[in-house]
């Protein structure tokens, strides 16, 4: 392994390090951007699900309320 | 003749006759090409070309002129219900692909018969290269015909029809252009035609043609489903 290291690198190590780091950073950034986009989608889905749940509940409540009202009027 | 071959012959004849009568594509393509040559003369500030420059100018111009023809290829089918007619007929729908590709091939050959001598007149010292160039032209035309027909048949159903065809077709023909220019560059060398890797490039062109003729023929049925 040391014999491989003996060959001089094409660029000084600290300069080369910046490029290598840059490449890996790009990779990381792309992944994080993707996560952020997915997070946005998840938020939207959560909002929609909440809305639908509310809609479904109001529908069953409304149906229950409606049948209550019918019984009352039938009594009269 | 089997029904498919009759259909092929009929569609091809109709297209060629229509083009002869209306002359809607070919003159435009030729004029476009010649004008482009003039633009290159001034853009490159040269009155004679050889080698890679000549090859590049010639093929770029031919390609863009071909795009004009590709755009118009299926317009009449789209507007006059030709697609429906094929769908209803009890024939192999790939006959439409074969007919249209042959028609486009014919247009390209005619275009080149007019335009390439003009190119030689404008920029080349001698016409010695034109003979072997013919082989390159024919093989490249086959490739453009195959891919152009395939893409055009889809683009014609889209909104931005004139934009979509060239957009998708250009990257697709890059390997074809690499091979065509690769073969042409030594042919147009200043010192006289050279044949460096000529056979290899012709082989690549043939491979490209074979693959996309097959692909086009195979998928065309799916394109015409309703």
């Amino acid at each position: 392994m040391l014999s491989l290291l003996a060959g001089a690198p094409a660029l000084p190590l600290d300069e080369a390090g910046k490029y290598v780091a840059g490449a890996y950073v790009v990779f990381l950034v792309l992944i994080v951007v993707y996560v952020a986009i997915m997070a946005g989608k998840l938020q939207r889905m959560e909002r929609e699900l909440r809305e639908l749940a509310g809609f479904a509940e109001s529908r069953t409540n409304g149906a229950a309320a409606g049948s209550d009202r019918e019984e009352v009027s039938a009594d009269v | 003749m089997t029904p498919s071959r009759t259909a092929f012959a009929t569609i091809l004849a109709k297209d060629l006759r229509a083009e002869l009568r209306t002359l809607q594509s070919l003159p435009a393509m030729a004029l476009f090409a010649v004008t482009t040559f003039v633009i290159f003369r001034f853009g490159l500030d040269r009155t004679s070309l050889s080698g890679s420059l000549a090859s590049g100018v010639l093929w770029a111009t031919l390609l863009f002129a071909a795009l004009l023809g590709v755009n118009r290829l299926f317009v009449s089918e789209r507007e006059e219900g030709g697609f429906d007619a094929i769908r209803l007929a009890p024939i192999d729908r790939s006959a439409l692909f074969a007919a249209k590709a042959t028609a486009l091939f014919a247009y390209l050959v005619v275009l080149e018969l007019v335009v390439v001598p003009i190119f030689a007149l404008f920029f080349l010292g001698s016409g010695a290269a034109l003979g072997p160039l013919l082989a390159v032209l024919v093989l490249a035309d086959l490739g453009i015909a195959a891919t152009g027909t395939l893409i055009s048949s889809m683009a014609v159903h889209s909104r931005a029809r004139d934009l979509l065809g060239p957009l998708v077709l250009l990257p697709l023909v890059v390997p074809l252009m690499i091979a065509a220019t690769g073969a042409t560059e030594p042919l147009l060398a200043a010192g006289g035609p050279g044949y460096h890797r000529f056979g290899t490039w012709l082989a690549v062109l043939s491979l490209y043609d074979l693959i996309f003729l097959l692909v086009g023929y195979a998928v065309f049925d799916f394109l015409l489903e309703d």
């Binding site: 491989l4 094409a10 790009v26 989608k41 889905m45 | 394109l223």
Partner: protein, 241 residues
Amino acid sequence: MYGKGLRPLSIATVVAIAAALSLVFFYAPLDADQGFIQKIFYLHVPLAITALIGFVVGGVFAIFHLRSGDRRWDAWSYVCIHMSVIFGVAVLITGSIWAKASWGHWWVWDEPTLVSFLIVFLMYATYYPFRYAIEDPERQARYASVFAVTAGAFVPLNFMAVRMAQSLVHPRTFGTANGGLPGSMMLTFLVCLAAVALLWLTLIKLELTAKSTSGQLKRLRRALDAPPRGAGSSRIAPEVS
């Protein structure tokens, strides 16, 4: 059920990536000619290989779609191509960084594999405007599958043509990097390849799960007779339900 198995898959991906990064920076020896810059290859090449295989897989799913008419295959094909295009962006950027570090220019035409990849990327980049331009969803799916098949056939031809166009003066740099790889480098490379491939699979699954959930929400909305949402769905991304 697309979400099933997503957790173990992502855990495997995390482990693989951690292992890969460790091997790259703590185990793999320094390359004799390129030095530390060669470390970029452990990222760049697996990304490229994964993206290219992804395109081919997208083409295979497209064939399934054409033959069966089942639109689910079209969704799979779309997601594969979409993910591979994104990975393709990473390939081109890391390739460019490597070019700058090695040869001092942000882009070089001398590296045939990178140039071929650029052309393939340009080809698949037209997938989106192509889908967008065709309005009827069923036709869009069919034509997109034809595109994916045609582009799949195009990839090997393209690599061959570009490689042949290289002047024989410039030796293939990837040849030295990949050809005579010592065992430790090969091991590191393979682990990196596995990590990137797992990442691709995880993201595909994640994407499909999101689409499926979205589709289920639509289904639920319809079943409840709730008013439809104002914002329409994407015109190009196929639905999964």
